[in-house]
């Protein structure tokens, strides 16, 4: 007969069975989307036998996600690795002395010195770009310049994600660096006049444009590609191809100081920064371009990027102006 005690024991056993005891592990905090990063982790586990214990950043928690968690845990870090989808916040954490300097990464393979920290605290991996995404059922015009979409006929029909978080904040910071204060201020004024809508994340912008709620959005190229793969009615525009091209954002990876599993962390760092892994990242759609010299990009897209050190300074200045519209 059904017995209460046996139920309690069963619950306890099931709870205990949920706890796992793995000796060789590496703890990774990542803001790279789970749908992509989990594939890389699985591959790493298969190759090395080291179990990856991941903590992902979600669209919902990006406001104060892993960056703040790492900062708070700085005296006793739980993470070994921080794999970030952009460089600005990694640089910020590096400035605060949170990452370990390592000397076993070959820096000569990088396309430029923008892609790694001169003090060897973080390294770039995989690049995406900021692109215009349009609902092809609603917009027939094939605009090639960013200025072409910032016109009155698209008033209240353009969406961008929250300019203080994620890659949108990096993009605005980069524009501030590139344009300077006055031109950036003009851009902000333009955005204000067009009543641009700020949504909670790039993926939300992508979905809203695909739904036809907004005609045009600015997102990351991986969001745009995932929408096209899903058969959504959108078209990607790599803007400004006749001048400097699109703004490109690369991923970054770093080992934390006092990382609890430093040996395993080193193995993961070497694995992730290999050309093979980057090819895999490009293949699964996590990134679209390589940061390494020898890997040719299938899309010949012109683009520019900046040193994260400059971005960090520009971010603080861009916020002051962005506050007038958001």
């Amino acid at each position: 007969m059904f017995n209460k005690k046996s139920l309690y024991i069963l619950i306890l056993l099931l709870l205990l069975s949920s706890c796992k005891d793995n000796k060789k592990v590496v703890v990774i905090y990542t803001s790279v989307d789970q749908v992509y990063s989990s594939k890389i982790f699985k591959d790493f586990e298969n190759k090395t036998g080291i179990k990856v214990l991941a903590v992902y950043d979600t669209e919902a928690s990006k406001a104060i996600g892993l960056e703040k968690r790492i900062l708070i845990e700085r005296d006793r870090p739980k993470a070994d690795i921080f794999w970030n989808s952009e460089p600005m916040r990694t640089q910020n954490l590096a400035n605060k002395g949170l990452f370990k300097s390592v000397n076993y990464i070959d820096l000569s393979k990088y396309k430029s010195n923008n892609y790694y920290d001169p003090a060897h605290r973080w390294f770039g991996i995989g690049e995406r770009s900021r692109v215009i995404i349009i609902n092809k059922n609603l917009v027939k015009q094939n605009s090639k310049r960013l200025d072409d979409i910032l016109v009155p006929k698209y008033k209240r029909k353009i969406a961008i994600s929250n300019p203080y978080i994620g890659t949108a904040s990096t993009h605005f910071a980069a524009l501030y660096c590139k344009y300077g204060k006055d031109k950036f201020e003009k851009l902000i004024k333009k955005l204000e006049n067009l009543d641009i809508e700020f949504l909670s994340g790039n993926s939300v912008v992508k979905d809203a444009v695909a739904d036809g709620k907004y005609y045009i959005g600015i997102v990351d190229s991986d969001d745009a590609k995932s929408a096209i793969r899903a058969g959504l009615p959108v078209r990607t525009i790599y803007y400004n191809q006749n001048s400097d091209g699109v703004f490109k954002i690369f991923g970054t990876v770093a080992i934390l100081k006092k990382a609890p599993h430093s040996k395993e962390a080193k193995k993961f760092l070497l694995y992730l920064l290999s050309k093979n892994t980057e090819r895999k990242l490009i293949k699964i759609g996590a990134v679209n371009f390589s940061v390494f010299k020898d890997i040719n990009n299938s899309d010949n897209i012109k683009g520019w990027t900046l040193n994260p050190k400059d971005l960090d300074v520009c971010f603080k200045n861009s916020i002051k102006l962005l506050k007038t519209i958001y």
């Binding site: 989307d33 749908v35 992509y36 979600t58 669209e59 928690s61 406001a63 929250n162 909670s200 739904d211």
Partner: protein, 492 residues
């Protein structure tokens, strides 16, 4: 008397800018940064409007469903009806939004209306379930007598409302706070709320002290709530007599038509959601989906029940310890509201910070459980009040020579069994759907269904998202079986 209360509130509201100004000076002295603009942000108006209307529509729909509950004659059908309500409550607002986006008319609505609809559809079942219990406290004799002597309106106005008005108000405030502090759906739809604004400001501040300081405007609401609660938590409120079920509404002439219409609508709504979920699951891959997610499903279910059970124990102990301390009790309620109003992610940050000073290895899971208790504790306490589980009124037991264990074992548990189970069920649902705190405290390598749903929602793996949403519905069915079994056993 009522006018005086309103006047009192208005005076407090008038003094609020001065209060904020003084607070700001105080914070500057203490070395905090506080963005005063935050309080004057239009997002406060947005959030207030959203919460006022959302809570109102949830309560109204809840009342309609309460009405349906009472006109269902057979007990077992009532169980099924409550089961239906629970099923609707389990569906995460973001999933609901994703399903409703398949309806063309819905997509034409403004972000404000869409948010109201989503929040209402999510919260009305909870309102209905809680209302069903609130109505248990009505003194049946007085209502039957009144209804035989006067009109239904007079009975409601003079007999029914005086008995339940405080609890209705509390339920309204509870729903209001739930909407006020949630930001997911609104921000996805482009309707900017105060919760989102606060989180954005927090992002720009790197200092924990500043993060805490930025939540100061919420203190205003706590102050307001304190004033309101002064009138709510009266002796009368705590000592309301528990009575048998009320059948006040059975006299209604068109009850059957209304009943079948509403139940049909609820079934259509649930069927629509089921079809949407199933339509998006890759049926050829269903075995792999099940195998891939079996661990996460087991983990989430057990964890949710476990933390809910722990929270009830903690809440009961807190209430028990405060039996004799009125001031401390009031303090507890202020604390409860404070918890509810501060974004959960901030609470998570504070928890990590505190436990980072304690040098114990493998403390992650403990912090994680604690985070859940932090989130569920206020909800448990509010439910304890609303469902009338109240150890204060059993003061006489102090004079009996019995141990606390025996009192719990032989008196409190049998007496409050049904209510405890309903609280456990509601808390488990909250725990299953908790995202804000769990995403920040989750131990590395651990995952729950809701976290996975959020992580995969926007990136093409829709099949897994809807499969997991379906699994969420299975959870609730399991919980309901337990609830239904106990109700049925009691009725037999």
């Amino acid at each position: 008397m009522m006018y005086k209360k309103i006047l009192y509130l208005l005076v407090v509201l008038m003094f609020m800018p001065i209060f904020i100004y003084l607070y700001n000076i105080f914070l500057s002295f203490a070395g905090f940064k506080f963005n005063i603009e935050l309080f004057y942000s239009k997002t406060i108006i947005n959030s207030l409007t959203l919460s006022i209307f959302g809570a109102l529509t949830s309560l109204l729909l809840g009342l309609i469903n309460l009405f349906i509950f009472y006109i269902i004659k057979k007990n077992y059908n009532r169980y099924l009806f409550v089961a239906l309500l629970f099923s609707l409550f389990i569906i995460e607002p973001v999933i609901l939004l994703s399903a409703l986006n398949n309806i063309a008319i819905f997509k034409q609505l403004s972000p404000f209306t869409q948010t109201i609809i989503i929040e209402t559809l999510h919260l009305f079942p909870l309102n209905a379930i809680v209302l069903i219990y609130i109505f248990n406290i009505i003194n049946l004799n007085s209502v039957i007598l009144a209804i035989s002597l006067s009109s239904l309106f007079s009975t409601i106005r003079y007999i029914l409302l005086p008995q339940i008005k405080y609890k209705l108000l509390l339920l309204y405030i509870f729903t209001f706070i739930l909407i006020f502090t949630s930001q997911d759906v609104a921000s996805i739809l482009g309707y900017r709320t105060y919760a989102e604004e606060l989180l954005t400001q927090i992002t720009l501040l790197n200092n924990l002290k500043d993060i805490i300081a930025s939540t100061i405007p919420l203190a205003i609401f706590i102050l307001l709530f304190f004033i309101i609660s002064k009138y709510i938590f009266t002796e009368d409120f705590f000592y309301t007599k528990r009575a048998i079920k009320s059948y006040i509404l059975v006299k209604c002439l068109y009850c059957n038509y209304i009943k079948y219409t509403i139940i049909s609508l609820l079934f259509i709504y649930l069927t629509f959601l089921f079809i949407t979920f199933f339509g998006k699951i890759d049926s050829s891959n269903i075995y792999n989906l099940a195998m891939d997610n079996i661990d996460i499903t087991k983990q989430t279910f057990l964890l949710s029940i476990f933390v809910s059970f722990l929270t009830i124990i903690v809440s009961l102990i807190a209430n028990y310890l405060l039996i004799k301390h009125r001031v401390l009790r009031t303090f507890l309620y202020i604390l409860i509201i404070f918890y509810l109003l501060i974004p959960h992610s901030v609470v998570a940050m504070i928890l990590i910070k505190i436990f980072n000073y304690i040098n114990i290895s493998n403390i992650d899971f403990f912090i994680y459980l604690l985070g859940y208790i932090f989130v569920l504790f206020p909800i448990a306490n509010i439910l304890l009040i609303i469902l009338n589980i109240n150890l204060f009124k059993d003061d006489f037991l102090y004079f009996m020579d019995t141990s606390l264990f025996n009192r719990v074992r032989y008196i409190y548990l049998p007496k409050y069994k049904k209510e405890s189970i309903i609280i456990l069920a509601i808390l488990t649902l909250f725990a299953i759907n908790e995202l804000d705190i769990s995403i920040l405290l989750i131990p590395p390598g651990f995952e729950t269904t809701i976290i996975k749903i959020y992580n995969l929602l926007h990136y093409g793996d829709i099949s897994t998202v809807y499969f997991l949403s379906f699994i969420q519905l299975v959870y609730i069915m399991l919980i309901l079986l337990l609830v239904a079994k106990i109700w049925r056993r009691e009725d037999d």
